[in-house]
């Protein structure tokens, strides 16, 4: 089946990401496909390049990057993202901020990408904070 997932929680602040990542890995192991993972609300902070994993915890950014390496699209709500400081180089320049903060390979996209991914998928699953 084709799945769309949404992550709503910030890194290391809730289990939102751990649950989403484990679910996504299980889907791929069972030969399901993932249309897109969409980062919404505080979930957009998962796309920051700057968090430092607490000692003894796994690095979430590396986990997201590993999913991306398996072909999973990581899409960040641009409206939720930029107000929380998640800036691509393009947005950094547009708003004249000193540094960008969007980690590779996340992309900033509009809410239309959430709706179209929900439409394309057989199942839509949210991971709230």
């Amino acid at each position: 089946m084709k799945y769309t997932l949404a992550i709503h929680g910030a890194p290391y602040a809730s289990q939102s990401a751990q649950h989403g990542i484990a679910f996504a890995e299980a889907l791929l192991r069972q030969a399901h496909t993932i249309e897109r993972i969409f980062f919404f609300h505080e979930g957009v902070l998962q796309a920051l390049s700057t968090p430092v994993a607490p000692q003894g915890e796994e690095d979430l950014l590396q986990k997201w990057q590993a999913l991306s390496a398996q072909g999973v699209e990581l899409a960040v709500c641009i409206a939720s993202g930029i107000k929380r400081g998640v800036l691509s180089e393009e947005e950094r320049a547009r708003y004249e901020k000193t540094s960008n903060s969007l980690a590779e390979p996340f992309t900033l996209v509009g809410l239309g990408q959430l709706i179209s991914a929900i439409n394309e998928a057989d199942r839509y699953i949210e991971f709230p904070a």
Binding site: H8, F40, H41, I115, I118, N119, P128
Partner: protein
């Protein structure tokens, strides 16, 4: 296009989730989705009249609500027990239908997808 139900269950000014969900609902309608919105639990506080978000330097939630019909989001529902428990007199502009728990079960069962999960 899918039948999408957005569930608003948090108070309107505690965080920006409700406003962000309404934005998603409007985009869903723009994409020709059949969009419904259900207010329940503390989400029903967002239905009070005479809101003044400007006093706390936030967007007024009821103003975002009143824009929904412009986006052809016209299926608006509220949980009747949630409203009664809080003893609220909710605004009926835009028009909102009060539902019992049984009616909410039927509403949810009729959807392709439900958006806005809470722990």
């Amino acid at each position: 296009m899918k039948k999408m139900l957005f569930i608003i269950s948090q108070p309107p000014y505690a965080n920006t989730h409700n406003a962000e969900l309404l934005e998603a609902a409007m985009v869903g309608a723009v994409f020709d989705g059949e969009v419904s919105i259900l207010f329940r639990d503390d989400g029903v506080w967002g239905l009070l009249p005479n809101q003044h978000g400007d006093l706390i330097e936030q967007k007024t939630f009821s103003k975002i609500l009143s824009a929904l019909p412009t986006y052809e989001v016209e299926r608006l529902f509220a949980c009747s027990p949630s409203v009664a428990d809080r003893d609220l007199s909710i605004s009926h502009s835009p028009e909102i239908e009060l539902l019992t728990l049984k009616q909410q079960i039927a509403l949810i069962a009729a959807q392709d997808v439900v958006i806005g999960a809470q722990r």
